[in-house]
Amino acid sequence: MPAETKSIRFDPTDPIFRWVSFSAATLLLVVLGGLIASLVYGGWPALSTFGLDFFLKFKDCPAGSGAHFCIDTPWNPVTDVYSATAPIVGTIVTSFLALLFALPIAIGVAVFLTQFCPRYLAQPLSTAVELLAGIPSIVYGMWGLFVFAPWFAKDIQTPLMIAASQDPTSWVAKLVAGVPNGANLFTASIILAVMVLPYMASVFRELFRSIPPQVREAAFGIGATPFEVTTSVIIPYVKKGMIGVIMLGLGRALGETMAVTFIIGNSHRFPKSLFDSSSTIASTIANEFAEATTDLHTSALVALGLILFLITFTVLAIARWLLSSQRY
C-alpha cells in the first residue's frame, strides 16, 4: 500500500499564536515602560520646580552651631515646598537596619534546615517558613502597631530612657532619645526584618540545597566539622548567589509599604536618634497620596516614587545578575 504522502499543511493558527504570545510578552515591557514614563511624567512638575533642592536642600546654619553646612528637609503641603532627603534617608536606614537584623538569623535558619535539622523536622519547618513568607505584609504591620510597638515602648524604650536620663549627654542617651510610643525608626526596622526574614530564609535554603552533595561529602570526608564545611565550603561555593539573595531582600525591604507605614511615625525630618520617628518613601506615598492637596504635592509624591523605582531597580538588577551568574 503506497504511503499517503501529504505535504505538511500550513497551519494559519501558528503565526497567529506566535503573534499573540509575542504581544503578551511585549505587553510586560510596555507595562514597565509605562510605569517609568508615568513616574517621570507625573513627577516632572516637582522635579522641575525644585531642581536639585528636591534631593538635597541646604539652609543657613543656626548661628553658633559651628557646622559647615546644614540640610533642610521641608515637606510642607501648606507652603508647597518639598524635599525628598528625609524619606530617602529613612528608607535606606530602615532597610539596612532590617537586613542587619534579618540576615544572620536567615542564614542561621537556612543552615539549620539544610545541615543540622533532623529529617522528620526539616520538611515541615521548611514548608512553614515558606508559607510564612506568603503572609501579607499588612498583617506584620498590624502586629507591629497593636502588639510590638506598645510592648516595646513600655518594656524596652521607657526603661532605657530612664536609665539614660542619669547622664543625658552620653551617646546612649542620644541614641535612645525620642517619644516613647513605640512608633520609630528602630521598631519599623524590626518589623521589616521579621517580614523579610522568612523570604530570605527560604531563598537561602534553596540556594544551599542547590549545592551538589558531593561537594559537602568531600569536605566531611577529610574530617571537617559541620562548622568548617559551612564556612569554608558551602558559603564560598554560593557566595555570589548569597549576595544576590541579600540584594533581593534589600529590594523587598526598600519598597515595603504596609509593614512600615503603621509604625514608623511618619515625620518628615532627619531622625535624630534610633528611637526617633521617621518616614520612608513608600510610607509617605501611602499616607498622603489619596489626600494630596495641591498638584505640586501629588507631583512631589510621584517624584518620590520615581526615586524609589530607580533605587529598587538598581538593587534588583544587580541581584538578578548575581543570581543568574551563579552556576548551580
Binding site: 504570545s21 510605569l35 536567615a106 519547618l125 526574614l197 562548622f227
Partner: protein, 284 residues
C-alpha cells in the same frame, strides 16, 4: 588535641547559634500567628459576612470589603492568567533564546519584585488621574483590578516558563512527528501535561495579590458601602484593615483583626492548595 577541642567547641557554638537563630525566627512568627488568631477569632462572627463596614460605635461586618476583594482579585487574576500564560509560553517555546527574549525575562523578573506601591502610582496616573484619554477620571474597582493584574502577571509568566521548561522535549517531538502544528502541540500536549503546574502558578499569583494593600490605596480607594460595580470606588479587605487599624476605636480595630485573619487564612489555604497540586504532579 587542643586544636581538635577548639574545632569541636567552635562547631558546637556554631550549631547553637543556628538553633538560636531558628528559634528566634520561629518564635517571632509564632507570636504573630498567635496574635492573629487570638485577636481575629474574637472579632469573627456571622455578621462579618452579612453586614457592611460600619461607622465607629455601630454594628457591622466586612461584607462589602470581602465582595470587593473577591471581585478585584478575580478580574485581576483572569487578566494575569491569560497574559502570563501566553507570555510564559512565548518565553519557553518560541522566543526565549533570542536577545529580545532575554530582555523580556530580565525585565519580567524586575517587575516581579518591583514595589507594589509604584504599580499603584502607575495605575493612578493611567486610569484615575484626569488628564489622559484612557482615564476614568475617578477611583474605581477597574483601576484596582488592573493594579492587581500587573502584580500577578509576572508571577504567572515566571512559573509558566519554569513549568514548560520542565516538560520533556520528547513531547514536543511527538507532536511534530504526528504533523501537528506548533500551536496544536502546545495547546493539546504541552499545556495539558503542564496543567497542574500552571494552576499552581495561578494560585501563587492569587495568594500574592489577595493581601496587597498598597496598590489599592489610591486606585480602588475603598468604599463604605456595598458596591458590585467595578466602575465605582470599591472596598477591599486589606484597605479596610488599614483604615480601621489606624482608627482609635476598639470595635473597628477588632474588625481589622478579623479581616486580617480572613486574608491570612485565605492566603495560607491557597498556598497550601498550590503546593499540594504541584506535589501531586511530581509523584506521577
Amino acid at each position: 588535641m587542643d586544636r581538635a577541642l577548639r574545632r569541636k567547641i567552635a562547631n558546637y557554638i556554631f550549631i547553637g547559634l543556628c538553633i538560636i537563630g531558628t528559634a528566634i525566627a520561629l518564635g517571632a512568627l509564632a507570636l504573630i500567628l498567635w496574635s492573629l488568631f487570638s485577636q481575629g477569632i474574637g472579632g469573627m462572627n456571622l455578621k462579618i459576612f452579612t453586614m457592611d463596614t460600619p461607622a465607629a460605635g455601630s454594628e457591622g461586618g466586612l461584607r462589602n470589603a470581602i465582595v470587593g476583594s473577591i471581585l478585584m482579585c478575580g478580574v485581576g487574576m483572569i487578566i494575569a492568567v491569560v497574559i502570563g500564560i501566553l507570555a510564559g509560553t512565548w518565553l519557553a517555546e518560541i522566543g526565549g533564546d533570542t536577545a529580545y527574549g532575554h530582555v523580556v525575562r530580565f525585565l519580567n523578573d524586575v517587575l516581579l519584585s518591583a514595589p507594589s506601591i509604584l504599580i499603584g502610582l502607575f495605575v493612578y496616573e493611567l486610569l484615575v488621574f484626569k488628564s489622559n484619554p484612557l482615564s476614568l477620571g475617578h477611583f474605581s474597582g477597574w483601576a484596582g483590578a488592573i493594579s492587581l493584574a500587573i502584580l500577578a502577571t509576572p508571577i504567572v509568566t515566571r512559573t509558566t516558563e519554569d513549568i514548560l521548561n520542565l516538560q520533556p522535549n520528547a513531547l514536543r517531538e511527538a507532536g511534530m512527528a504526528l504533523g501537528a502544528s506548533q500551536f496544536t502541540t502546545i495547546r493539546t500536549i504541552i499545556w495539558k501535561a503542564a496543567g497542574s503546574g500552571l494552576l499552581t502558578g495561578g494560585l501563587l499569583g492569587f495568594a500574592r495579590i489577595s493581601g496587597e494593600t498598597a496598590p489599592l490605596l489610591f486606585t480602588a480607594l475603598g468604599n463604605q458601602f456595598y458596591n458590585g460595580d467595578l466602575s465605582q470606588p470599591m472596598a477591599s479587605l486589606p484597605v479596610t484593615m488599614f483604615n480601621f487599624a489606624l482608627t482609635p476605636y476598639a470595635d473597628l480595630n477588632k474588625l481589622a483583626w478579623a479581616g486580617a485573619l480572613l486574608v491570612a487564612v485565605a492566603v495560607l489555604a491557597v498556598n497550601i492548595l498550590g503546593r499540594w497540586l504541584a506535589r501531586d504532579k511530581n509523584s506521577h
